[in-house]
């Protein structure tokens, strides 16, 4: 879902950058409040893991491949959508500058789609699904699927505004491919949460709040 430089006119890239910077500032504020020494391993491992797995494109049929985005995972594990903005921003900076994966001018829109939209949909989707009674792994999986799917639709709308893709075919194709890619997102997110919960249950944000309130 990494948008290259050629897909957006400069002035539109600038607008998305400004919006992204607002969320980056909020994410830094969150980080100053919430990140303590004991969170260092979790943030570093999540960033490295998300980076590695984003390089692993899996086939999803229809002549298409896809990989985990990781916004939902970061947000659920660290207990805030801003965690996704924080970690995905770091990942996208390295990907764009060193590997040419996603543009430089379009880094703002990519942070917006994968970090902000992915993080917020993933986090609040997870909370809502858990509240209606789904178990935590199913909630995480479905929320991650939704995060991938909705971020893709947002990208289709951005591409339509830019005149790069026509609106309806863009929505249909982005929606179809990312409905399939989202299954990867859902399974890996649920599995990663299972592993972290098993290895270090105390690192999961939701367990921390449970302990604090009981």
């Amino acid at each position: 879902m990494h948008i290259p430089d050629a897909f957006l006119p400069l002035w539109q890239s600038a607008i998305y950058w400004i919006v992204a910077l607002v969320f980056i500032a909020l994410a830094l504020k969150w980080a100053k409040h919430e990140l303590s020494e004991d969170k260092i391993p979790l943030v570093a491992v999540l960033a490295a893991g998300i980076f590695a797995i984003q390089a692993f494109n899996l086939p999803v049929a229809m002549g298409t491949s896809g990989h985990l985005v990781g916004g939902a995972l970061a947000a659920i594990v660290l207990g805030s959508p801003y965690a996704a903005v924080f970690i995905l921003t770091l990942v996208l900076i390295i990907q764009g500058i060193i590997f040419g994966d996603g543009g430089i001018t379009t880094m703002g829109v990519n942070i917006l789609n994968m970090g902000v939209i992915g993080g917020f949909v993933g986090f609040y989707g997870f909370q809502t699904l858990k509240r209606v009674g789904l178990n935590r792994y199913a909630s995480a999986g479905v929320a991650a699927w939704l995060a991938c799917f909705i971020a893709a639709l947002a990208a289709a709308v951005e591409m339509a505004i830019a005149g790069t893709f026509p609106l309806v075919p863009g929505l249909i194709a982005m929606g179809t491919y990312h409905a399939a890619i989202g299954i990867i997102e859902g399974i890996i997110t649920a599995a990663a949460i299972y592993f972290i919960s098993t290895a270090r249950p105390d690192m999961m944000a939701e367990n921390a709040t449970v302990e604090a309130t009981t």
Binding site: M1, A6, T64, S65, I94, D101, T164, A199
Partner: protein, 113 residues
């Protein structure tokens, strides 16, 4: 099974490196969802059909876009770098992002105290 912070840190880094290493050999060469959509709206691909080998997803883009040459383009050291170059690129990337996230979090956490 509770493991220490150091074990979690090293274990996580090792898992990331293993995933990156496997990706170099087994990642799909098919275009991703955005590129597939670009090929589809250009008429180079049907919605559910195969992607063309030599399709150019960026043909649909604007022509005066910023041209940025990344040092390790597409997680490789160029054509001549081969698989070894790709392994180097992905391992370098994992170490850099790990160090960046570790360092950034540490600086932020230290300021708090």
């Amino acid at each position: 099974m509770n493991i220490s912070n150091t074990q979690f840190l090293i274990g996580g880094l090792v898992i990331a490196i293993i995933i990156g290493g496997i990706a170099v050999f087994f990642a799909s060469g098919d275009p991703d969802g955005l590129e597939s959509t670009a090929l589809y709206v250009q008429g180079d691909k049907t919605l559910t059909g195969d992607s063309p080998e030599d399709g150019d997803p960026e043909a649909v883009g604007v022509s005066d876009a910023v041209e940025y040459e990344a040092p390790l383009p597409d997680y490789s050291m160029g054509e001549e770098g081969g698989k070894a170059g790709e392994l180097f690129a992905i391992f370098a990337g994992i170490v850099i992002i790990f160090g960046l996230a570790f360092g950034a979090t540490r600086i932020i956490a230290a300021k708090k105290n």
